[in-house]
């Protein structure tokens, strides 16, 4: 049974009209650790990817594809890395449903365009950073 309703699909398709460049969604799944959630996550990502030709999906198992998962900095499942022209460091831990779903769609769009919707002042401040910044955002689906 599909996760997305016809209405969801129509809304996302409309949003995806903003896509310009290719996006790769790397899904991290490990059946033995969180089978149900990993399957649900993988299904959700595939349903989203079906809505635009520019989106591709790759599934990695951190227990098998250890080096690549480490390179992505992913140590938990289920997880998703959203990559555009390069890996911008955007990750989702857990199945992005509900409110997080709109963030996933937004992440795909900004990774595709490479054009963040931030003020010029903010962008200038971020360009001037000389240290790494790791932002964690805890959320719930509702």
């Amino acid at each position: 049974m599909p996760i997305l309703t016809d209405r969801d699909r129509a809304a996302v398709r409309k949003e995806f009209e903003k896509l310009t460049g290719p996006v790769k969604l790397v899904v991290f799944s490990q059946e033995l650790l969180a089978g149900d959630l990993c399957r649900q996550n993988e299904q959700l990502v595939r349903e989203v990817a079906e809505l635009a030709d520019t989106i591709t999906v790759e599934v990695l198992n951190p227990a098998i594809d250890r080096e690549r998962a480490q390179a992505y900095g992913v140590d938990q499942v289920p997880a998703i890395a959203v990559e555009g022209a390069r890996d911008y460091g955007i990750r989702f831990y857990g199945v992005p449903l509900g409110y997080e779903f709109s963030n996933l769609i937004d992440a795909i769009i900004v990774a595709s365009t490479g054009e963040p919707a931030l003020s010029e002042d903010t962008k200038a401040s971020l360009r001037a950073l000389t240290a790494d910044v790791e932002i964690k955002v805890f959320a719930t689906p509702t």
């Binding site: 969180a34 959630l37 900095g73 938990q76 289920p78 959203v82 555009g84 911008y88 460091g89 955007i90 990750r91 989702f92 831990y93 857990g94 199945v95 992005p96 997080e100 963030n103 937004d106 992440a107 900004v110 990774a111 490479g114 054009e115 963040p116 919707a117 931030l118 003020s119 903010t122 962008k123 401040s125 971020l126 360009r127 950073l129 000389t130 240290a131 790494d132 910044v133 790791e134 932002i135 964690k136 955002v137 805890f138 959320a139 719930t140 689906p141």
Partner: protein
Amino acid sequence: MRLAQHMAVASDRVRATAIEATEFPELSRAYQVMGVPKVVINDRVQFEGAVPEQDFLGAVLQAVSAP
């Protein structure tokens, strides 16, 4: 997460991770997540709730400033 992921695209230095709190209870406990959204920057600066872009940037800059 919206501002965080846009910041990640704006700068090579910034990484943004969304964590579904109920699926990762240990992580949520470790970061004492009571309300959501909760933002933690470099394990050093944290705040709860949605904030304007300028305040979010202020928190980022605070997290990388000298102690």
